[in-house]
Amino acid sequence: MIDEKILVWRFNRGSKDALKMLYEKYKDDLLGLAITLLRDRSLAEDVVHDVFVSFAGTTGSFRLSGTLKGYLSTCVANAARDRNRSRSRRDVGLEAAEAMDCDSGDPVEHAIDSEQSGRLMQLLGHLPYEQREVVVLHLHQEMRFKEIAEALGISINTVQSRYRYGLDKLRSIMNSMVTK
């Protein structure tokens, strides 16, 4: 936490090393969030790229309230929502989970990761975007409901109800999968 504040302070002083370290620290996590939300790796990469470029543009005037992870996650969620709205209404489909192919080094690790995350992606793919967003921000990004409500500009009750409906739907899908 202190390291993060020092990095942010250095970033505000125009240190490119600090920016690079911040990027290295959060890039994978943010890309995972964007992929989970958009279910499209190439779009997700664009979102993370745009978020970092716009973050870099705030050097000298960036004021951190809360955690940087929370701030960047909010930016990614907002940018992903914009992308989700603007992209054509084509059905992303369950096979979009395959789009998570990445150029990570170890093929075995990649295969395991793909299988695990593919299962979750399949499930989350059944949720409406709003519910998926809240579930992922709370469970993956460890953001509190209050933070999510502030970030998305909605009431905390709405956040909680979306979360509850999302989990109920996931549970019913999984139950139906088990009975089959």
Binding site: G14, K16, L19, K20, Y23, K27, D28, L31, G32, I35, T36, R41, E45, V48, H49, F52, V53, S54, F55, A56, G57, T58, T59, G60, M100, C102, D103, S104, D113, Q116, S117, R119, L120, M121, L124, V135, L139, H140, L167, L170, R171, M174, N175, M177, V178
Partner: protein, 143 residues
Amino acid sequence: MKPTKNIEEFVKLEKPHVTTGETMDKRTLNDSFAAMDQTIRAKKRSTAGIRSRAAKLAAAAVIIVAIGLLMVYRNPPLPQQPPRTVNVAKSPAEMLTAMSLNLAWRRGGIEAVDEQSEKAFKVLGSQPAEASIQKLLVELNGV
């Protein structure tokens, strides 16, 4: 399937672990550095602009003050003379006394003048030893 019992744990555990590619890293960092440089340049320009504006204002203020001082030294203001007072009448106390005595004379003759003069002396708070009705009449009539 256990995750059905604890769906939250399942979602947490199944969090996708993805890694960014080298191409993406390079593209993002290069663009971020460019954005950072652009912001820093813009801020420097704006700071320089503010400084130059402040310098212009300071120079203008110095010129105005210098002109003011020059004008003051070239045309020094005339020394102010104390206002003259012209004595056009006697003092109010005297006037009042004379007037009241005149009125008193018209009203009730010498007794009224005497009584009035006594009152006037009381009001003025001083009673000259040589003051008398004769003297007052001389002052009143000018004879």
